[in-house]
């Protein structure tokens, strides 16, 4: 509600500003930049501050020792600021283990998704055969299903599939990283196949025809010719999928019963119970969970945004 309120005032002043900037001044728009935009700036600045408040508050709480908040209250700048909560969450709170689990799940899943999806995309976009559109539709639709729709059968299938105890201590696929990796992979293949197949369709058919004349087989066309050309799309999809799979909350929640196997995103669910009402420690745990995503964003922002927009450029 508080977010919607400021919209009215600046919106009108904004359109008025643009109208007065008018037809005549359209051409040299660059020369006039920043001139008539006070209303927009005010609106955006207020909104940006509101946007940052929850994160800043979390960082602020995380940096203050519990003893100081008990003494001075939560809303105070008194006392010291340090990273003790972070190191406590990392070592005693098990966040080192959770971060490792996240890596164990995310890295293989992303590699598998890119591998299978690029093969599938190649087959449906570069070779014409009877069912390629049908299969592509099936893949795309699968990615759009709410995961809860398939939760029960997957859980029971994994529970009833016996595995030797040397492989899995549950005697089944439940409580293994493999179960999460497999389902994450299956769920994401559809989206990546869809995006990559559009990308590959746009590549000239002559590329592979020349290779055919040279006697290159399907695999060489895929691996040596098409894949290298898809590098920008693969980078974008890889970045996007790292974030998607790292941020996946549901599948580990469903399949992993041992708390020490959970990835960061799902472990967040237990913060309240684990740290009781030590909100400083909860805030530190939340920030640790946010950091990998934010680092990837800072480093690979271009690829991430490219991935999102690639996915939406067709429709």
């Amino acid at each position: 509600m508080s977010i919607a309120q400021p919209t009215d005032a600046p919106a009108t002043s904004n359109s008025a500003a643009r109208r007065s900037a008018g037809i005549g001044s359209r051409q040299p728009v660059n020369a006039k930049r920043g001139k008539r935009h006070y209303g927009i700036h005010l609106f955006l600045t207020v909104l940006a501050i509101m946007w940052l408040i929850p994160l800043v508050w979390t960082i602020f709480t995380a940096l203050r020792p519990k003893a100081d908040t008990d003494k001075y209250g939560y809303f105070s700048f008194e006392g010291s600021f340090n990273f003790d909560n972070f190191s406590q969450a990392w070592t005693q709170g098990g966040f080192a283990q959770y971060a490792w689990n996240s890596a164990l799940i995310t890295i293989p899943s992303v590699i598998l998704v890119l591998f299978f999806a690029s093969m599938m995309a190649f087959a449906v976009s570069r070779v014409s055969w009877k069912f390629n559109v049908t299969l592509l539709i099936m893949f795309t639709a699968g990615n759009l299903l709410p995961p809860q729709v398939l939760a029960a059968p997957l859980f029971e299938m994994f529970k009833l599939l016996p595995l030797p105890y040397s492989v899995s201590d549950s005697g089944s696929l439940l409580n293994t990283y493999i179960s999460v990796i497999a389902v994450d992979t299956a769920f994401q293949i559809g989206f990546v196949t869809f995006v990559l197949s559009n990308y590959m369709k746009a590549l000239s058919p002559e590329l592979t025809e020349a290779a055919l004349v040279d006697g290159a087989g399907i695999w060489r066309q895929y691996w040596d010719i098409i894949l290298p050309l898809c590098r920008p799309a693969l980078a974008a999809m890889g970045t996007l999928e790292v974030i998607f799979i790292y941020n996946d909350f549901f599948w580990p929640l469903l399949f992993l019963q041992s708390g020490d196997r959970l990835p960061l995103t799902t472990a967040v669910n237990n913060l309240q119970g684990q740290f009781l009402s030590n909100y400083n420690l909860i805030a530190a745990g939340a920030m640790i969970t946010a950091i990998p995503a934010l680092v990837i964003y800072l480093l690979l922002q271009r690829h991430f945004v490219a991935g999102l927009t690639l996915g939406s450029s067709k429709g």
Binding site: S15, V149, L154, K314
Partner: protein, 317 residues
């Protein structure tokens, strides 16, 4: 399952005239390679996505405690009757899902569009604003639930302090009070959704042919008219994606309410009820599956809408 599609290139190719030249030259070995390239992903997709979906539908007509396969008993439509008539959280959950959709569609999505329009105008610091609004999109909804919990807490949260009610009896427990917690959760969800919509529309606006805008202005259209009559319709592919994302997100909403209180006490959603029936005591797989099927049937509406837009063009071309 995937073999029939593999054999078809043998008989099928002549029908696709133009690109068929490529297909005909496939050697025996190439056909094998191709079968594997298609077969493996398809098998994964079938076994882990589509067969479970069908099994969900099948299980919704049974009674099962989830122990051994022999215990599965046919139950006809009784699970659906139970949900509609004797399962108190169901109708509130439907209402909350609808509310989620309406809120995202009327507030979060237009806010994202507004941000995109404002940030598309070459204003100073546009990149910084974009980065700020986009940051929550990087975070999982589960984490967003925790972060906003710290903000909404009754005694230690910033919001009540800013409102001046912290520590007083009037202090509201924003995530705990069943009268307000759905709104509090929706604002937290908006925090993420608006940035997502913004970035997609920014890309969409960049893709609009600038001559359209100029032509409209020469014809004497003002900024608002230009946007709604010319620019917005020209972004149709993006609009389709945004509609689909908004609808699907409101059906998939789960993580944030599960983190807050597992989807109870004012935060019931269909997706959360599915899970409560699967993992809770006395696992009622049949009821959980029936709820999953209801969710599936509703989801098929936006999914079909999207597929018809995305693939309809393919068939003409």
């Amino acid at each position: 399952m995937s073999t029939p599609s593999k054999t078809s290139p043998n008989g099928g190719p002549p029908r696709a005239a133009a690109p068929a030249g490529r297909v005909r030259r496939l050697s025996r070995r190439d056909k094998w390679v191709l079968s594997l390239m298609v077969g493996l992903p398809t098998l994964i997709q079938l076994v882990l996505v589509w067969i479970p979906t069908l099994l969900s539908a099948a299980l919704s007509f049974t009674r099962w405690n989830g122990l051994s396969l022999e215990d599965i008993k046919p139950a006809g439509l009784s699970n659906y009757e139970f949900i509609a008539q004797n399962y108190p959280p169901f109708w509130p959950a439907v209402q909350h899902n609808v509310l989620w959709l309406v809120f995202l569609a009327l507030i979060a999505t237009p806010l994202g569009l507004l941000l995109a329009i404002l940030l598309d105008q070459n204003i100073r610091g546009s990149k910084i604003y974009q980065s700020i609004f986009f940051t929550p999109v990087m975070l999982s909804l589960a984490l967003i639930g925790v972060i906003w919990q710290l903000f909404y807490n009754r005694d230690s949260g910033l919001l009540n302090f800013l409102l001046g009610t912290a520590g007083t009896p009037q202090a509201v427990d924003w995530f705990g009070d069943s009268g307000v917690n759905i709104w509090a959760a929706l604002i937290a969800a908006t925090w993420r959704h608006a940035g997502y919509v913004m970035i997609l529309y920014l890309a969409g606006l960049k893709g609009v042919d600038p001559t359209l805008r100029e032509a409209a202005q020469i014809d004497g259209a003002n900024a608002v008219q230009t946007f709604f009559r010319v620019i917005f319709p020209a972004m149709r592919p993006v609009n389709v994606i945004i509609i689909v994302i908004t609808v699907i997100e409101s059906l998939r909403a789960f993580d944030i309410v599960y983190v807050i209180n597992r989807g109870t006490n004012g935060l019931e959603l269909i997706s959360a009820l599915v899970i409560q029936n699967l993992v809770g005591e006395g696992q009622v797989i049949g009821v959980g599956s029936a709820l999953a099927v209801i969710l599936l049937v509703i989801s098929l509406v936006p999914i079909t809408f999207y597929l018809s837009r995305a693939f309809g063009k393919d068939k003409e071309a």
